[in-house]
Symmetry: C2
Subunit: 349 residues, 2 copies
């Protein structure tokens, strides 16, 4: 298996090195052929390693970076004034080829702004998008954009389809993942103009385009990849988080009502636990900043060690699967497919 090096912004997230260092150690121990560079305040990382009775070495190196981007720092400020932040140095390592991918649990806006500035976008891609996976009946659904782009043109949505399909093909080993366009169905007016035009572009492309899907199709697993603008995607994601939390709390409350329900809860505990494992959002941690000329994974800020490991594993998968090459191929094959249709139009003109 190909040797890969992952750069980790050790200072990012709500817990910083306390989570990132241990997660990195766990990955090094379990995954053959993976090297990690921990980027951040050297003393903080070393102190954490010491507390864990571990040492840096050939497979786990420490790269000092003197600044830290805070969780609520405006992206433009983080980009302009902190040129030696752990986030920036992580992106720089990817840019220079010293790492194959970067992982950060830091501030999403800053990570996107810095990554875009340092790495630029891939040819044929106008805007990067945030992609993640959600659980479904069949396994999982990829969804993008989840908040990087509020207003999207039909062409942007089309590019999200290309990138999402490339991602799913690489990490799910599916030859031609199906792509659906998020729309509204039976209601009064079907979709806005951008979505209607995006559907035409996707239909004419080389992608395995399923057609329009609705919100419930995300969890039904109707398609492998759901495409939408970042406003809608972000609302869908946050709404899901809110509903899952409400359901969990209401269920807990019912089981805590009285002695009998507590007893029933105790007996049902192994079942409830198995269920929780299956639906555990930590398993799905790690969003891809797709469309950059480099692989960057954003972990949830509140990720614990297990969740952060999943984000690192996602980075490894994308590197080993050759994600960037696959996106370039998809962009290329779309361009070809567009070329094929052009002569006809030319003759008509």
């Amino acid at each position: 298996m190909r040797e890969v090096t992952i750069a980790i912004d050790a200072m990012g997230g709500d817990h910083g090195p306390h989570v990132t260092v241990k997660a990195a150690l766990n990955i090094i121990q379990r995954e053959a052929g993976v090297n990690i560079v921990l980027v951040g305040l050297e003393h903080a990382i070393t102190a954490e390693l010491k507390a864990l009775r571990a040492d840096a070495g050939a497979r786990l190196r420490v790269r000092h970076a003197s600044e830290v981007v805070s969780m609520d720092e405006p992206p433009a400020m983080a980009l302009r004034s902190k040129k030696d932040s752990s986030m920036r140095v992580t992106a720089d390592l990817v840019k220079r080829g010293e790492a194959d991918a970067g992982v950060s649990a830091g501030n999403t806006g800053a990570l996107m702004a810095i990554s875009r500035f340092v790495l630029k976008t891939l040819p044929g891609i106008d805007r990067p998008a945030i992609a993640s996976t959600l659980p479904s009946h069949n396994g999982k659904t990829y969804m993008l954009d989840l908040g990087a782009n509020v207003d999207c043109s039909p062409e942007h949505l089309h590019q999200f389809g290309i990138m999402g399909a490339a991602l799913a093909s690489v990490t799910e080993q599916k030859e031609r993942p199906s792509v659906g366009l998020l729309n509204i169905g039976e209601e009064v007016i079907k979709g806005n103009d951008a979505v209607k035009q995006a559907a035409e572009l996707l239909r004419a492309s080389a992608l395995n385009f399923y057609g329009n899907v609705e919100g419930d199709d995300i969890y039904k697993g109707t398609v492998d990849v759901v495409v939408c603008d970042g406003f809608v995607g972000n609302v869908a994601l946050k709404t899901s988080e809110g509903l899952a939390k409400l359901i969990a709390e209401e269920l807990r409350r019912e089981f805590k009502k009285n002695l009998f329900t507590r007893l029933a809860g105790l007996i049902a505990l192994p079942v409830i636990r198995a269920f929780k494992r299956k639906m555990d959002p930590r398993r799905f941690n790690g969003a891809s900043l797709l469309g950059l000329n480099g692989i960057i994974i954003k972990s949830h800020g509140s990720a614990d060690i297990y969740a952060f490991e999943q984000a690192i594993l996602r980075a490894i998968d994308e590197v080993r699967g050759g994600l960037l090459r696959r996106i370039a191929e998809h962009v290329g094959s779309h361009a070809e497919s567009a070329d094929e249709t052009e002569p006809a139009t030319g003759e008509m003109a």
Copy 2:
């Protein structure tokens, strides 16, 4: 208590008279001072009444309508070519004051088009919106628009806030319900232009405006009313339906795994049942077509008898609470508040 008459499109929904007639009978029996007019094919309604060993009478009348709008009929067609449909006659009865409100489980698009044509919008309201309630930690959250308007101007979103607050004040007896504007938070760009401008309008209005909220706030119960455009609202609603279904199925699957888990499920059954009752989407059935000069409630097409009763009860609540007058007051008080701020601007000019 005020005597009210509800017109029911008896033919609407997936089950037609089989559901609507029994639900009407149940309401008549339980609710004092409520009269119902069942609108639709007389022979079908009478046959259903006979099967239920019930008779029409002073409180439950039958009004023949010779046509039926099908569930997948294009709204424009239903409006133009079926002038004696049960849906149209229901709206006509409301228009002529023979009924205080109308309820239909039929095709949403057709119901909106017909209601808007027959009843028109209230003064100061440009577009009707679909409003419904969702469960939250504190009880329920009102949300609109859920799919009537795909592209919304800031002024439309502002009007949705006015209508939603009026609805919540009438049905929840809250003097000044809080209103939140659905937006995306920490991500890269905060909201699109329409949402930003709508926030300014809402902040300047007489409403109890909380500010921006995110998807998870819907279920947290952060505000009484969540305002968004119909595309986003519809996606959030359908996504929630999909997730709730997935969670229910996965939980069922875990309990059915083996003999032990089945036993555990049996013991936990009363708790699971209490939980399901609490989260039962049927309890929240009945969306208000707000902004019309008349009260129209849309029931879910697949509603069963219990769910359809909830939609009828919602209509009764809105009539007794004086919803239309309340919306008019809200529109008026907003206009006043805008007037108050005008002199200052005038002086500056």
